[in-house]
Each structure stands twice: as C-alpha cells, then as structure tokens.
C-alpha cells in the first residue's frame, strides 16, 4: 500500500531539485548537486543553495504539506468537501491581529509569532462556539468559522483604511497575499515542535477518520469515540494552519484543492490520503513558489495570489469533471 506513495515522494524531490535550479543567479544542475553534497563548502553556490533557496523550499514545502493535511483532516471529519483549514478561523484571527499589530507599530519581524498565537486563539474560540455536549457540532463549527472569519476580515479592512498608504498598509497587504520571501532555517525549526505535536494528535485518530467515512451514527455503532476524534483532528488542523500562517502568511486553496486531488489519486483511505496530500501540497507549493520568484524576476509574485489563480480553475475543473472521487 505504501508503495503507492513512492511516486508522489519522488515528485516532491524532483520539483524541489527543479526549484533549486531557478532563481536570480543561474546555477547549473551539477553545481547544485555539488553544493547539496558539500553543505559546508564556502563557495557562492553552496551559500545560495543552503542559505537562500533550500530553506525557502523547505519552508513552502512545509506550508503546502501542513495546509493539505489540515484540509484533508477537516474535510474528512466534517464530511464536507468545501471545507478548508482556514475554516478554523486561524487565518482570519491571525490576519486581524497582524493588521492591528502593524498599525500599532509592532515590528514586522514579530508578526509571524503574533499571527500564530492569534490564529490558535481564534481556533479555540471557534471550537468553544461549536461545542455541543462533549463533542463538536459540524454545522456550528462551519457557521462559527465563517462568522468569525467575516468579523476579523472586517477588522483587517478597517486597519487597512486606517493605515492608508503607510508602510503598515503595504506590510499588511504583503502578509495577506502570502509569501515565503526571506525565510530561514530558524523559521522552519520554530514550527517543527508544533508539527510534531499535530502528528502526535492525528496519528491515533487515523483509524477513526477512516471509519467516519461511513457516517457518524454508524461510526459510533462500531465503537468510534467521535468526540475524541473531533477534538484531536480540530486541534491538529488548527496547529498546522497556524504554523503555515506563521511561515508564509495567507495561502489559500491548497487546503481545499489538494485533498480533492489526493482522493482522486489514492482514494479516501486516510492512511494513504494524508501522506499523499502532504506530498502533493508540498510539491504544489514548491512549484508555485519557484514560479513566483522567477516569472517577474527580480520582483516576486505573492505565492497566495498565484495559487488562487491556479487553484480556482483547477478546483472548478475537478468539480465540473463530475467523476466521483474515491
């Protein structure tokens, strides 16, 4: 079964190697390979590869994988194909906090951490509103996520109006458009504990997620503790979405379209779908980021914008093709 994931893993490595080749300074493939094999070499190629391109590629790969896994988890839990990770309110809460922070003069360097904390705080608020008994009500969760997102979007709009054309306004817009520019190994390392925690939460819930495909009532009948699975999945999704927001700002559509594409490739078995979605999300974001930093070089396109341009037509194509996803 795991063999079906090998081609997807190879695609990620191929796309990542391709992304290492492109950039402001053209470096041939042999030099890239040499730099990869000799990380402590002091040459320019090694510095470009190890200090500039590779951390950024790892960063966007992490973001893509996190968003894709979070989207897959939430779509599976809520049995709703239109759900994406930002439903948890993470992005809207983070956006509002960052917009207000930048307006109040907080250093742009502090915004990722601010976004992470505010995003998780919003997810906790959404979960509290969606709570029913000891579990979560799927409909309430969606309504709470949508309502709070609308509320926080209004705060962002208000902050933009107040910021007018100042530096704060351009920082807010840049963050909303999503970008991995200037990311370092340190940024990636900061998210590893949270990603590890998310994995620790998700892995015990994988069998339950698979059984939930037959419906909540039937899943309860075969012994699934639905409430436990709900909390584990929501907490893991919120952590992953908050990590991605911290690393690259607002990047939409990955968490929505990759789970659909993943189901078409490997089916809906969470044991395969979750790693497949991680690989596909990573490959998509590495590719999109490579295009963003080369298509209008030396300037850069925001990755969130490019992914929306690609994501909407792809999603509509998948949707209109009509074949049932397995």
């Amino acid at each position: 079964m795991a063999l079906r994931l090998v081609p997807l893993g190879l695609v990620v490595f191929a796309v990542a190697f391709g992304a290492l080749l492109v950039g402001g300074a053209p470096i041939p493939a042999t030099a890239i390979a040499g730099a990869l094999l000799h990380p402590h070499h002091s040459g320019v190629d090694a510095v470009i590869v190890w200090q500039l391109r590779l951390p950024r590629i790892v960063d966007v790969a992490f973001v893509g994988a996190a968003l894709a896994v979070a989207g897959t988890l939430l779509q599976g839990l809520l049995r709703n194909p239109l759900v994406d990770p930002y439903l948890t309110g993470v992005s809207a809460g983070a956006a509002a906090a960052i917009a207000l922070g930048l307006l109040a003069g907080v250093s742009p360097a502090a915004t990722p951490a601010l976004g992470f904390v505010a995003g998780l705080g919003t997810a906790v608020l959404v979960a509290a509103l969606a709570r029913r008994g000891s579990g979560l009500d799927a409909q309430r969760l969606i309504l709470a996520g949508v309502s709070l997102s609308a509320f926080f979007s209004a705060i962002v709009a208000l902050a933009l109006v107040r910021a007018q054309s100042s530096n704060a306004a351009s920082s807010i817009v840049a963050w909303l458009a999503g970008s991995a520019a200037g990311r370092t190994w340190h940024d990636v390392a900061l998210c590893i504990p949270y990603a590890a925690l998310a994995a620790a939460l998700v892995i015990p819930a994988v069998p339950a997620l698979n059984v939930l495909r037959i419906g909540e009532a039937q899943a309860r009948g075969v012994g699934v503790n639905v409430e436990r699975a709900q909390w584990l999945v929501l907490a893991a999704s919120a952590l992953l979405a908050a990590c991605s927001v911290e690393l690259a700002g607002m990047i939409g559509f990955v968490g929505l379209i990759v789970p659909h594409a993943g189901r078409r490739v490997v089916g809906s078995d969470a044991r395969l779908l979750l790693p497949a979605a991680a690989f596909m999300g990573a490959a998509l974001c590495i590719l999109a980021d490579a295009v963003c930093r080369t298509i209008v070089a030396p300037a850069e396109l925001p990755i969130g914008v490019l992914l929306a341009f690609i994501g909407v037509p792809v999603f509509l194509w998948l949707f209109l093709r009509g074949a049932p996803a397995r």
């Binding site: 069998p207 059984v211 495909r213 039937q218 009948g221 075969v222 012994g223 809906s268 049932p324």
Partner: protein, 259 residues
Amino acid sequence: MRSISVTAGGAPLLDDVEFRVGSGKLVAIVGPNGVGKTTLLRAVAGVHPLAAGTISVDGLKIGSASARERARSIAFLAADDSAADGLLVREVVAAARYAHHRWWEWRESERDCAAIATALAEVCMEQMQERLFSTLSSGERRNVWVALALAQETPVLLLDEPTTHLDLHVAQRMLALLRGLAGGGKTILCALHDLNEAAAFADAIVLLGDGRLRAAGPPTQVLTSPLLDDVYACTIERVHLRDGSLRVYPSGVAPAAQR
C-alpha cells in the same frame, strides 16, 4: 435493563422500562411511531445517555464502558442511511472491525478478512463487494449495513428497523437470517414496525406505549387485542393461521379465508 428512563430533547420519553433478554433470543421492540423504540436501542448501545437506571450486557455496564468496549459486545445498526460516498461495499463492512484493533494496528488481520467475507456472504452481498456503495439500491444498502453489524462479531446485535427498504422476499430472508443467528447463540434486539414480522420471527416482544413498557413476553401474550387497541389507538384483530402462528390486522382487513 433495570428501571431505565430516557429523555429526548430534554423531554421524558420512556420511564421505568425494565426487562431482561436471555442469550440466544430474538426480541422485537414494537410500538407506535415516536414512542422511543430507536431511543431505547440507542440507549442499550450506549450512544444515548440514560436519565436513570442501568443497562448491563453480560456483566458489562453500558453507561461506564468505553465506546470500544461496547462495540466489542454490542453491534448497533442505526436506521439512518449514510451515503458513504466513494466507498466500496467491502470498505463499508470493513469499518466493523474498528473495535477489534488498537489505534496503532492499521492493517487488516486474517480474522478481519474472514469476518468481513462471512458477513457479506450471510446477506448474499459477496458478489457486490467491489461495487461503489453509493450506487446500490436502498434495499441493497440495508443489507450492507446488516453485514457491517455482523462483521463486528459481537454476542449482541441491536438492529433498528432491519427490514426497512427491503422487498418481501429479502425482508423474510433477513428475518430468517436473524432467527438463525439467534439459534446460533446471538442475542438480538430489533425495533420493528411490522407486528406480523415480530409475531412470526421473535421469541419475545417488548411493547412500548405512552412512554412506558406496556408488555413484554412471548408474541401470543403481548399481541392481545385490548392491549394493541389501546397502544395503537385502533381496533386490531388477532388471527391464528392454520399452522398455529399468530397474525394481527387492523379491523376490516383481516383475511377471512384464514380464520
């Protein structure tokens, strides 16, 4: 089941219901719509909280058992259908094995495969195991849900309207299967709407009415005319067929030729 009371939406639904089901028995729960048959089954399955009382299955206290422990003793087939989009019939039935695995055991064992195959064969669905569940008719889907309950390999089966959506032939085959399973030692509690199905196949009938247990016992003792008239608020006639079995009909539709 001792003095149990259940509520639905905060309102009392059933009060002081108490009965005992011996192993290897097929017991039908009957009563008018909305009386609490499904809620009672859900309470026995441990997925609906009790307002009062206790339910035990082979010594296992349902109220304090974990979901996994309950599912190893009791298989509960809800009446609600589910689209189970994108799943094959076999994948739906395989979900039954959840409680037999720890969370890190992700692979099907040989015993799982055997239980799934046997359950599919019991409901004559083995030829359809590679079909998409969503493409089946409602009757075929019902069969798959019953197979799922069987694949749990529990000593107790709770079935909410197992013959819903089934044609006459398949419904009779289903009830005969349940009868056979009871003969093999399984304890089966099922909610039924059709009193004649209950009379023909059940060892005992639990009749609910007006929020309480109205009678429990063998069909001939429970399906009595004054009691049924009162519970169903219509005149019901009892007819003994030539083979000695009992049938009940609303007055005016009893087949005179059989009397």
